[in-house]
Symmetry: C2
Subunit: 212 residues, 2 copies
Amino acid sequence: METLRLYDFLPSGNGYKIRLLLSQMGIPYERIEVNILKGESRTPEFLSKNPNGKIPVLEVDPGKYLTESNAILTYLSEYTEFLPYDRFLKAQVFQWLFFEQYSHEPYIATSRFWISILGKAEEYQAALAQKQEPGYAALSVMENHLQSHLYFVGDRYTIADIALFAYTHVADEGGFDLSRFPAIQRWIGRVQAQPGYISITHEPMPLEAEFC
Amino acid sequence: METLRLYDFLPSGNGYKIRLLLSQMGIPYERIEVNILKGESRTPEFLSKNPNGKIPVLEVDPGKYLTESNAILTYLSEYTEFLPYDRFLKAQVFQWLFFEQYSHEPYIATSRFWISILGKAEEYQAALAQKQEPGYAALSVMENHLQSHLYFVGDRYTIADIALFAYTHVADEGGFDLSRFPAIQRWIGRVQAQPGYISITHEPMPLEAEFC
């Protein structure tokens, strides 16, 4: 296999999911920054990689592209410690991955994007207000689960935790108050204590480090 | 394994995905109608099955519940003809499943819900207008793909087709004009010609048919 190439935007939680898993799996890769704020995910060249115009995109072999952060997590983790082999546990991982994309990300990630990436809290005030209730509902579902579980599936760390961690741990950047959710806070600490953990803005080591 | 039990709402496309796959796999099941318009997915009893308060829910064994329509599709189809075994093709199926939940369903299914299930097109006029552009963008991504492919992944019918078919073939009920998308229309015909196809409002045969 050629070196994996990740088309990514450093502040993106969806991109961070892939960076975090690759770091924890010890897999080297080349990261290519796509500045979505400058329209770089809407160029004809980028759209030839992902017609839906979104990062992250993983080039798994020259010209072979995978899109959708949670599909990429699944691709990379199958038959590793990060995805259970048991049929029901694996389905529960997928359940949380779809929960994250449908009931969590559109509220918590979008609010963070408007407030902290675009810096336009004022302009998006009305839209932001509409994100509060469903965003807190998603956090409550997580809190209830984590009150009696260490992790999301099977009481071990899986890609379900990675997918949910990405935007949850920076939910305050989208105006969500995590102090109401003590079980989520303890889980955040457990994720941050995992081997190979990196922060959301951590740049990977260059593939060929330069020594002078 | 006990008989599968599906908690469902007949007009729901997300519920229909599971009914369609179970019909095509020839698997009998018990269907339990949950009228979400009457708050039946928000009762303490239902929330004990899915804390996120959404149908469909599949009870795979007594007290063992799976939620999220696309996670249920994955659970049922793994190691069958409906989900490729090849690692990259399988990841492409997941890619389309996440595309459906993130970039398609929130626009096309939600519009249909407001117009044709709630019957409140007037009341939701402003919100409906905002769904048009992203909804048509999702249909365009599908149309472009289907101009050179018979199905979504590997040129055979998979759960990616089932997930995308559920709300696409009734997109007109949400105010989307499918006459602009000839490749989607031809694909709809191919899905409807699959063995075991049932329509969205088809009730399954009772498990024990009564003869007088």
